[in-house]
Symmetry: C2
């Protein structure tokens, strides 16, 4: 099933909905499985012909599975650069798949909860994303998808090691469990480093919004397991699952502290951030993330009435470079994007303010 990417532009993907459990602090819960097909060499050793054959094999098998044959199937190497980045900004593909070479694809369900990357670091990367804190549902879905695929494909599997992967860090379960958290109060109260050190001690990794090596912009932090071997999938899932409520609790306490300590200063910071977003004539992506982070906390604390969390999540995505260019319908340089971003924010937020005023 093919899809016009422009169709996705106006929609809210799964993680933007802000609808799941604890979605004031937890943006999304994600699980991915790394899988390889036994009959092909690992990607690094593949010829162009191998890659094309892998791509075709996966596509053909998907068509045979009733529950997976309605996925959008996109040849990433045939997309424009803007479209590739567009998919990455929606977290449907990884930065690695954007920058990889040769035949590579992604299959996405229309709700943007499931995505299958073909020819990323491994032949297959299965990813399920849920809004809010919902790792159990994510596991149930990915486990079913994995079983469905395994009924059609022979995975590279070793009796003692488990699933074989291109990088040794993924061998075993091939599973990465991650939760994206919004932790502005821990950042303001300078407790975030302490939280990170505690997580590292129990072998959990902390990363920015776009995974490995990316900066933690907008106070978003992704927490995930580092170990994939020697534990069951459920154990790995539970390790992340059990620690997240503690971090949520720390963040809530930090927010309470800020409110008690000096509600006016916090309100001032949040309110000014909202004011700048509504009036800037040119604004960078980084400043936008920074200000939206304040506003998001303001919505959660009841200090801003006009907006809902879904609005903020949508703005986080829509103001990124590829989304802006898709919305504008043409390429834009940095200055052009900064101007278009400011225009988009002003229009969106003044409409919301108007809607809010009409309701009162």
């Amino acid at each position: 099933m093919n899809v016009d990417l422009n169709e996705l532009t106006g929609r809210a993907g799964e993680w933007m909905k802000g609808a799941g459990p604890q979605s004031d602090i937890v943006i999304s819960s994600r699980i991915r499985l790394a899988r390889n097909i036994a009959e092909f060499p690992f990607i690094r050793r593949c010829t162009a012909t191998d890659r094309a054959a892998i791509d075709k094999a996966v596509r053909d098998r998907l068509a045979e599975v009733p529950k997976l044959n309605d996925l959008y199937y996109l040849r990433v190497d045939e997309l424009s650069d803007v479209d590739r980045h567009f998919l990455a900004e929606r977290q449907l593909i990884s930065r690695e798949l954007v920058e990889a070479e040769g035949a590579r694809s992604v299959a996405i369900d229309p709700g943007e909860r499931l995505s299958l990357m073909i020819n990323e670091e491994d032949h297959l990367r299965i990813q399920v994303m849920k809004s809010g804190f919902d790792l159990v549902a994510a596991w149930d879905q990915i486990n079913e998808v994995d079983d469905l695929l395994e009924s059609k494909l022979t995975y590279a599997f070793h009796d003692k090691l488990g699933y074989l992967t291109a990088c040794p860090t993924n061998v075993g379960t091939g599973m990465r469990v991650s939760v994206m958290l919004h932790l502005p109060a821990l950042v303001i109260t300078q407790q975030i480093e302490k939280v990170f050190r505690s997580l590292q001690k129990i072998n959990l990794a902390v990363r920015g919004l776009y995974g490995e090596g990316s900066q933690a912009m907008g106070d978003f932090y992704q927490i995930s397991n580092q170990i994939t071997l020697g534990r069951s999938e459920i154990e790995l899932r539970n390790q992340v699952h059990d620690v997240v409520p503690m971090i949520i609790d720390y963040e809530r306490r930090a927010r309470d502290f800020l409110l008690k300590q000096n509600q006016q200063d916090l309100h001032d910071k949040i309110s000014r951030a909202y004011g700048i977003l509504r009036t800037a004539q040119t604004i960078s992506s980084e400043e936008t993330m920074h200000l939206l982070s304040s506003v998001r906390m303001g919505v959660n604390l009841g200090l801003i009435d006009d907006l809902m969390i879904a609005d903020i999540n949508k703005l986080f995505v829509d103001t990124q470079p590829a989304h802006l260019q898709k919305l504008r319908g043409g390429p834009l340089d940095t200055a052009g994007r900064n101007s278009e971003r400011a225009l988009y924010l002003r229009r969106y937020l003044s409409q919301k303010e108007k809607d809010g005023a009409d309701q009162n």
Copy 2:
């Protein structure tokens, strides 16, 4: 005629109207004359009894002059500290009169164009203020008031020196001619120092908003004559009168340059300033002046539609400490003022925005 100062609170004084010639750049034109009554010693040598006698003498003579007998006459030493500062913020009295000791007064016309300070540095300081660039009208009025007073009081006058004053710098005409200019573009383009040096070379002084020693907040600069002796009143008036159009021209060129150079950056700066003023929950007087200065230029350049110059001038005055406390109806500490100031700005500007939206 007595006056309840609360009556003035809601009103716009002469210099706030923004109605006079060139009022996009010239806030006000002011002339003051220093006079002393021959039968009394200079203020510094006065006893408390002398001061009271001077105050009574002036008050009694004013009552005899038909054109001056409807002035509000206020005993400044009997006012509260907030009320004294309130008058200074409206530029009806000087900081010196606020801080002086003993019997002292001010007589003000209801339109706040004329004010007579009694027992400031000299027995009498006559001041006439006009909105915009209007020194000729200011001179005509002050000359008439001076003649009316001189018909009732014997001024200290020396045939060769002219009017005698407490400070030698005022001897002769006792006249200071000053024009208050708003020069944000010369500040941004870093040409303001150059302009000042040129003015100093022709013996003109440059000061901030509240006269001698005060900081130039909000890009307001007061230009005035330094020499009072050896030239006629008309010559002194013309010296300032002739130089102001050149400064206005420099400022306009600097604005054009900024618009051509990078209209978007200028618009961004102005628009954000407006956004912060509309949303801050706490804001200092200094930051308010700074932001209002940007917004004032924005209104003049047609980049902000909701406001008129009169609104900005009013906000400059109303957000100052004594005005805020008068508006609130009680004393406020710094934190309380910063909060009240932000509240006042939000209410005023959201009302203007609403009015603007209703008109469109």
